[in-house]
Symmetry: C2
Subunit: 460 residues, 2 copies
């Protein structure tokens, strides 16, 4: 438990209104987008500048108090849970877009800017930030960078790290440093920008970011293809990609999700289909038409039983809303949802889907497979109940087997959600010991007193 | 000077034929693509596997012998010069393409594979590796990754690091580790793949790389636009990019280069133009036509005096060969050439070009500005003579001023060539001290005896 003196010192730094210590506030900051972890902080602070962050960290370092950085708390690996109590440092009041530079195709933001707000502002200039985690309505840029977030659009546009040009970072002992630059090319010593990106808030607190952005595509087109076999759907994905067509999104929905959507919000999806692929292509209008035709042809040739090309934006929006609703439906399907984030080489998607089926069906575990088929990043998800210990244990064992299968197929244990608390033991299993030693050495170098987001990524 | 015993040990590891100690061999490995630095190694070794590299490094670490990794030696910042003697570890015999996976759009290579050979093999599968350093005829993938190389195509496709998915690295003490994976998405602890990429051979020796590749575009089109004012040409670049057209290449040639080309190999470039912009657009045929028309329109509107769209591949090839010949011409223009590699935000290109002119003209220094206008990466180059001390000093002072101008414009001191030996003092000036401390700390952590490419990147 934090001492009163520390709370007073924090108030001196950020002002009374930006320090929370009431029980109901602490509860509100005790969880994130995961369903398995909860832990209250002792205090929540809302700095409004890098200098304030610096002062908070200096204090915490001196007093050896854990500091957990947090934006909107949409994290789905437990990364923003203050598992050791201490201070939650919340960036939501640092939410200014500092500049949009249309000539250089860059945007400079504070960490608390919500991705949706950034894209709304960028759209006015004909620009957008391509990575699109499905939490974009709430997720903040600091967290998106710290987790190296992905999303559906990564098949064409790549992940967040490919858009991080420069960062202002407050180090655990309070130093404020700039790494990277405003330029696309930069080979000036080790790439510290990439070191902080994806470090899950354990190496420094991002207080400003310079991001690359892209011109909005002139046209988009959405295509839905229904399949009788989810594995055949998976195979179609790599037939399309290796044909040279790179859609901006390729999402996979299985029969469970299709029917959830049709129950919640019927839009006429084929309920008997075992899988749907939802494609978006973007670019200049002429290319988009051709790409849509090519996808239609390839899906037909590779076993699709029904294909629709959305006639207009309204129809396309319905499909994409359904895709998001599908994930929402999942979280209302039972008291506890285990949503995985494994990534396999794209051509192993059918194998992984078969394995999930083989693991879950004989065990009587309700499951669904939804995900970003274009880049092999799937979210096999199991419906269970933490309070039903026997079922929960069975589900955990099944999930472990799924993760091990993904790794055996040449995959990784996290594609876009990060390790946080949820995947530490899998990281320990899959990262070579010497690589882990380097990671730990870097952590010790930058954060010798281990105050910043302690207890995350690896077992101590 | 290395002891005979060490040479014997090296012969035991790689075999007699793969250890060179004759004077004429050592001279051949004493320089790279720079013109200012020369230093002989004591011995050159050619390992053929990660295990051999591991044994060499264990020996060198134990005996505290400097090891300089080297591929084809096309480096242009002195990075592959064995400035402290010792061992040159040359990867050119590890030149196998281990696999091309068309379904996953990846290629796995040994470090000694030449980029040109990789692209020839990829083309047979309808694929390509987008970053295109102008040394692609000789440069090897290990060096391309270690320097995070760029090239003209980065304006659309990004730099090398965006294509490095996974690496096998031999650490300075001989451990062989795998970092990254075959998947596009991977958030499993700190991004060590990005740490080794661009580390200029100071943290480990890349013994294998998994690279992302792309489908070859179906069509390309080349456009040449001539301008009366080099600064106006620079302005056209960001007008085009902010219009939403992203060419695959935008190269800038100034009057000096145009006339050099026309002298060496006349192809009818307008000799009175103060600058040429050379564009390539790629994609599906329909989009390429439209993009070429848009570029033509925008260049006209923004002051181009002449525009040509290449009628066929032969004409396009002539322009691109001329672009490369221009750089070759530069290196035959005088006994010593200082070729810079600064990068500024794209919209600062006209300012930088004006500054180069203001600095060089009153000092009577022959100069040219050539470079990748699309990403702000320019190579202002000065013609001088190391033996003419007075002129050389004047040229050095001018170059320092140019670099300082680039930094003052929000740029960086190296865009794609790296720091190596050439830019150490500029790195020391522009990287924040605390960031440099982190870099040095990482180096100490991974290479405690400082055996791997010592003397590079920063002043000890």
């Amino acid at each position: 438990m934090i001492r009163k003196k520390i709370v007073k010192d924090l108030i001196k730094i950020v002002g009374k209104v930006d320090v929370l210590t009431e029980k109901e506030d602490l509860v509100a900051y005790s969880y994130d987008g995961t369903t398995s972890w909860v832990h209250e902080p002792d205090v929540v602070v809302f700095p409004t500048s890098a200098r304030e962050i610096s002062k908070i960290l200096k204090l915490a370092d001196k007093e050896r108090i854990a500091v957990t950085p947090r934006g909107a708390g949409t994290n789905v690996s437990g990364g923003s849970i203050p598992i050791q109590g201490g201070i939650v440092l919340c960036s939501t009041k640092m939410n200014k877009i500092l500049g949009i530079d249309k000539e250089n195709l860059t945007a400079t933001v504070e960490p608390g800017v919500v991705l949706m707000d950034l894209n709304t502002a960028l759209a006015k200039e004909g620009l957008f930030f391509p990575p699109d985690p499905q939490s974009f309505l709430g997720a903040t840029m600091g967290g998106i960078i710290a987790e190296n977030a992905g999303g559906p659009a990564c098949v064409k546009y790549g992940v967040t790290k490919q858009y991080v040009l420069g960062l202002e970072v407050v180090l655990p002992r309070g130093d404020i440093i700039d790494v990277g630059s405003q330029t696309m090319k930069n080979v000036v010593g080790y790439d510290l920008t990439m070191l902080f990106t994806g470090s899950e808030g354990t190496l420094g607190i991002i207080s400003k970011a310079i991001l690359a952005v892209k011109p909005l595509p002139q046209a988009t087109k959405t295509i839905v293809a229904a399949f009788d076999d989810v594995a055949v759907a998976g195979e179609s994905v790599h037939h399309i990609l290796s044909s040279g067509v790179i859609p901006s999104k390729i999402e996979l929905l299985d029969n469970w999700v299709i029917n959830s959507i049709e129950r919640l919000q019927p839009i006429g999806l084929p309920k008997d289909a075992e899988a749907l692929l939802l494609f978006e292509v973007d670019g200049v209008p002429e290319a988009v038409e051709k790409d849509a035709e090519r996808i239609e042809g390839l899906c037909k040739r590779h076993g699709a039983k029904e294909i629709r090309i959305a006639k207009d934006k309204a129809e396309a929006d319905r499909y994409w809303l359904a895709r998001r609703a599908g994930f929402a439906a999942l979280f209302s399907a039972g008291p506890t949802i285990m949503a995985e984030d494994v990534t396999v080489p794209r051509n192993k998607i059918p194998d992984l889907i078969r394995r999930v089926r083989e693991i879950c069906e004989p065990r009587g575990i309700e499951y669904t497979v939804i995900g970003h088929a274009g880049d092999g990043n799937l979210h096999p998800s199991l419906v269970t109940d933490k309070k039903n210990k026997e079922h929960f244990k069975k589900a955990q064992e099944a999930m472990d087997m799924i993760i091990e299968s993904a790794v055996a197929l040449g995959g990784v244990v996290s594609g876009e959600h990060g390790i946080g608390l949820e995947k530490k033991r899998f990281l320990m299993k899959t990262v070579p010991p010497m690589a882990l030693e380097i990671m730990k050495g870097i952590k010790r170098l930058v954060d010798p007193n281990n105050i910043l987001n302690p207890g995350k990524i690896w077992e101590e």
